[in-house]
Symmetry: C2
């Protein structure tokens, strides 16, 4: 008999209390079929929990011939973990009892907490207090349970109908219902999990806690997350940046669209954040984002069965033309490279393949190819140094037994450390039998496109792993007055800084500006112009005039005094016509920047993710085409370079048709200066430098127009 | 006993000879398992062919107790259709025998013809001659057979291992191997086919013949095609434009990328044509193009089970939040609309759903919803006039039996003529059982995204069906000299027309041009300038100088004579610096167009698809961003409008930030004039109008620069 000693230290609990219990109580266990309390108990027994289970329910003396206790406190032995499956009203009281008993972890499956609002919020707060009081860890409430397949634990503490296999995927879901679907999908692909956790409302244990726990877990080689919202983006960033260097994290984040995000909010009661920010954050952390659970499963299959390749060159081996063409299309469309086979490889292939074969990539062995041909061709192709990944396509013809072919393919694959993906277009039962029969068989896909999509995602992960971590350069603020400028504006209710203040802030952070003079409405533009020099630009100034050109408030290329006076008169008329005269606060007389490429640098504040930096080409085209890159903080030099190269119109900065390349380093540095600024001055809630003129000559680069908005010192009524 | 009378008229055969035979011969039938000759015979018997089968093989007296004939001529009764499964060398002789016997159709499964090149080409030519001689129709060679599930025929003349169900999908494949995979995929989704044809090398019967045949077939409601190349694009266009008005055609066309297209060519020995041309052609014909076979199957499921909706408004009904969020994201990302439920609908739903439900779209009934709730909610939602399509999501919770829920959903759906899509996240066996048990059950999908992708494709088809057919306006050429200009150029070896000739051709077709004067290298630009008037543009002229601005060969905005002379001197220097002086053939002095938006109109010649018209915004941004629309001929006014609205930067033409809208009608008309021109003058192989300045004022629109290249009269050596 197992001796009942607890492996948990009190009062500070680690997640071991939840995932490695020696004894568990199922509070709310019941013999009634079709209830969660029954299915959960059933699953725990069926999966063969390595410790002892205590059913708890005052209504029964025994359940399935096992002694049932009226309460957790009446259990004579220590209890490490308690599952709670009772009506919401009694949960707090039972949790308190668990605390008194010294239970180390609670998995609360009961619903009716934060997710329903109203009294639910109060009930959830109670749980939170109890957690702080007793130090136990809580999964849930409102979750579908936890699962640890480690042979030393064997705990299936879920009420899912699917019995999971043991494997190397650690999965966390924010949706219980999707959890059920995910376990089904995992099973269907002959995959297994190390851990599976439905986190529910996350009153205590969060996805980040699990990430940290799984990072160190040797059985977990791939981490999968289904997210609807981020709890603490900064912690997620720090953790995942570290983990993804050695263990891939795959995320499905729903609520991508505004409507989806509203649906998510109404579902979880939490703000979803901007999807562009989510994209940026995941990208900057090396997390692989996929759109659908199907894609995730395809990718988990790839990452658990195959090594990460050394490059992006793919070779396709097939016995049928059609699917090979489709695979080729997919390889090219996913941005991968079709490997070029060496002459030696082709010669070797020609040695045993029939004349009608095609020895270019895709290598088409035609329908007569059997196990031998597949085995030999695999060996030859895998030895070619120009091939990083192999796709084997097999459409079973008459007389050729798929198992025999797959045996040879598996055999050949096991001699090499290159990833092999198999597209098998055959009856369903093979997808079950082959992975069971040949443990080293490559992952099987039904269609070329899903295999290639997985290869492409793995290739993205390879690039991340090879990518330097990047540096954060510090650009200190060189003007001690900035703090006062910001504070003054905040004290007077926040809003846009005056152009003069904007320029002072930008100058302090080392941005090159056009010289500018602010002329009051009753001032003399000519006097200002003499300080600046011709040619110059005349602009209206007014905090409430956002799109100045729309109201005729910008006149460029003014060559001399006479035309300046004309321009001023014309602008006054335009402003009057547009009915904005009373919003005019003055005029700006500005140096003309040399001609170059226009780019935009900016920042908006996301409630969930903090400052969101923005870079794009200037001009109307790009405005319409939305060719903009975003990044969340922190931003390294490598992030900045990727941001610049990430826009579709990047070739324009490199120069097309013999133009000079602009000084890209200037932009990289400017992005980092901007990052430094918004980091130093958290009160900045919006910033736009538009346009910034960049040229080949760094000394001629200029921030031409810009605005900065700061938050009021205390939020005014109505703001949250 | 059936009386053996042939239903076929000689010598002119329709496809009935192939698809509705009363008697068939299987030439090459054999009792040897694992051979095509065995499997084919087996399939024919197993499927219960309604007529009589005559095995033919000189080696056997009987096969499976059925009398076997030594040759087709030794069969005493008439034979309507012959399957030929014998070595390639004997095929022609046997075909000849069939001709003599009066056989109406041949299905040649034997390989070794055009697809292998060399002698194969000769063998294929022989077949073609025999076809013309005897009038029989040939499917193949090098195909995997044909299938007609009509109860009066029941012919499974394939060697595929999958026994098909009868259904309403007529499918044609250009790849035999994919044919096997397709029959598997059809089966897996509980779909059935009316016809299935593997066309092989298409020595006689083509995909177009099948389209024509199926257009009139009442059992075929959806046509599916797997294409690797187009035989006769013009016939396909005419046929499919007509058919898609009442019967959807879905196409997977592989060889999308250059590499895929090369793979296709080496596979089929045929040119694949440009994929942008394929895209344009399919779009202009209302053919639904999907990327993968999986998408096609999702869509066939949708189109065979559901009506085409009246609009794009989708309502989601669910018992689980997560999948509903994912569905919402997919709806928005596919460009569909989330339906807005009326107050009345919401009130009705509130009447029977629990308080915790969400009554906005997505309607989340929470996990407690059972068959009753699903049934009632479906009725209410389907009655809402603001809903065109319903997605029902069901993740089976404890205690709720999926079959019961699906029964209610099927019942409610059958009361309304609106499409319903069901996302069922449950064990595999339900996907088999439910469609069998409830014949009116909506189509089942495993994940929200695949359902929504199908809905989106159906919505595209709805838009096509509602789209007016469009008109082709005729713009006759108004200058009889054009023919001579073109012919002269062709006679002198083809190539680019001179600028003066280009302008004459464009003027003849009603394009507004800037006035221009060509000045010889030793001529006087000032004299020419006086005719044109200032300001003007000076351009170098030389057939071999393609990118004039790259060599300093364009100077714009020249205000007066003095600056013209300066500009000329500067250009001479630049051209000398660029080393192109000896390629200069003169200078152009050109009127300056008013400022407006720059667009590009052009045409390139595709070897397969003929003239490919092109439209896009001008300027470097768009060049880099490749924001261009293409169309094949013929181009209607509706096509032209779609082309213009199809580019991403279209909003710039509508005007952003208070700009005036340009005269879109001018562009529509210009595209049609261009279409007319390339139709009238087939010798034009390349044409570019770049830029065309378009403004709000039609009278100020100008073609500023353009070139036209014509083919030489006889192809020079080296051209094909």
């Amino acid at each position: 008999m197992t001796e009942l000693t607890s492996n948990i230290d009190y009062p500070r609990q680690t997640l071991d209390a939840v995932f490695k219990p020696k004894s568990i109580a199922v509070i709310g266990a019941t013999p009634k079929r079709g209830t969660i309390g029954h299915q959960l108990l059933q699953n725990i027994f069926q999966f063969g929990f390595s410790g002892i289970v205590f059913p708890v329910n005052p209504k029964y003396e025994s359940i399935h011939s096992i002694k049932c206790y009226p309460s957790v406190s009446s259990i004579p032995d220590p209890v490490d973990l308690a599952f709670i499956v009772i009506p919401k009203e009694s949960v707090a009281q039972v949790a308190e009892e668990c605390g008194e008993k010294g239970v180390g972890g609670l998995v609360i499956l009961s619903a009716g907490f934060k997710e329903v609002g109203g009294d639910g919020l109060k009930r959830e707060e109670e749980l939170s207090e109890l957690q702080r009081k007793y130090g136990f860890r809580i999964i849930g409430p409102n979750c579908m349970g936890i699962l640890n397949t480690a042979p030393s634990v064997r705990l299936n503490g879920t009420f899912a109908p699917t019995e999971p296999e043991s494997g190397s995927l650690a999965f966390m879901t924010q949706s219980g219902a999707l959890g059920v679907a995910i376990l089904l999908a995992v099973k269907k692909r002959n995959l297994g999990v190390s851990y599976f956790v439905s986190v529910g409302n996350r009153v205590d244990v969060s996805g980040d806690d699990l990430l940290e726990y799984w990072a160190a877990d040797e059985r977990s080689n791939v981490i999968g997350l289904y997210l609807e919202s981020f709890g603490d983006p900064r912690r997620f960033t720090n953790l995942s940046k570290e983990i993804t260097r050695h263990k891939p994290i795959i995320v499905v984040k729903s609520g991508r669209t505004a409507a989806g995000s509203r649906a998510a909010s109404s579902h979880t009661g939490q703000l979803a954040g901007l999807d562009i920010a989510v994209d940026a954050l995941l990208h900057q952390c090396g997390v692989i984002r996929v759109s659908t659970l199907e894609e995730m499963m395809d990718l988990v299959l790839a990452l658990t069965k195959n090594p990460v390749p050394k490059g992006d060159r793919v070779c396709i081996l097939t016995n049928a033309g059609g699917p090979a063409i489709m695979a080729t299309d997919a390889v090219v469309n996913e941005g991968l490279t079709m490997a070029k086979l060496t002459g030696a490889t082709r010669k070797k292939l020609a040695g045993f393949l029939p004349e009608e074969s095609s020895l270019r990539n895709p290598v088409d062995m035609i329908a007569s190819a059997g196990p031998d041909e597949y085995g030999k061709a695999m060996e030859v192709i895998l030895e070619d140094k120009g091939v990083d990944t192999v796709i084997v396509i097999f459409v079973p013809p008459m007389l050729v037994e798929p198992r025999e072919v797959m045996k040879q393919v598996a055999e050949a694959s096991s001699h090499h450390k290159k990833p092999v993906y198999c597209v098998l277009m055959a009856e369903d039962h093979y997808y079950d039998e082959i992975p069971r029969q040949f443990k080293n068989a490559p992952p099987l896909y039904r269609f070329p496109e899903s295999a290639v999509r997985a290869i492409s995602a793995v290739n993205g992960y390879r690039i991340w792993c090879e990518r330097p971590e990047g540096n954060i350069t510090t650009f200190p603020c060189e003007d001690p007055a900035i703090e006062n400028i910001i504070n003054d504006q905040r004290q007077s209710g926040g809003g846009y800084l005056s152009p003069v203040d904007v320029n002072r802030v930008l100058r302090a952070y080392g941005f090159p500006l056009c010289n500018v003079e602010l002329v009051p409405t009753d001032g003399d533009v000519v006097v200002a112009a003499e300080k600046i020099g011709y040619p110059l630009v005349l602009k209206v100034h007014g905090e409430d005039i956002i799109h100045k050109s729309d109201v005729g408030g910008v006149i460029v290329d003014i060559p001399d005094e006479r035309q300046l006076l004309g321009a001023k008169a014309q602008m006054d008329r335009s402003l009057a016509d547009a009915g904005v005269t009373d919003r005019v606060e003055g005029f700006l007389v500005q140096e003309v920047a040399k001609s170059g490429k226009e780019v935009i640098l900016g920042m908006t504040m996301d409630e969930t993710f903090g400052p969101l930096l923005m870079f794009g080409m200037g001009g109307k085209y790009v405005e319409v085409l939305k060719d903009i890159a975003f990044r969340v903080m922190p931003v390294t030099d490598v992030d900045a370079i990727e941001m610049i190269k990430g826009i579709r119109s990047y070739p324009l900065l490199e120069g097309v048709r013999g133009e000079e390349r602009v000084d890209i380093d200037f932009i990289v540095e400017s992005i980092q200066r901007l990052a430094q600024m918004v980091n130093d001055i958290p009160a900045i809630v919006e910033l736009d430098m538009n346009p910034v003129i960049v040229t080949a000559d760094r000394g001629a680069c200029r921030v031409v127009d810009s605005r900065i908005r700061v938050a009021p010192l205390r939020p005014s009524a109505g703001q949250t």
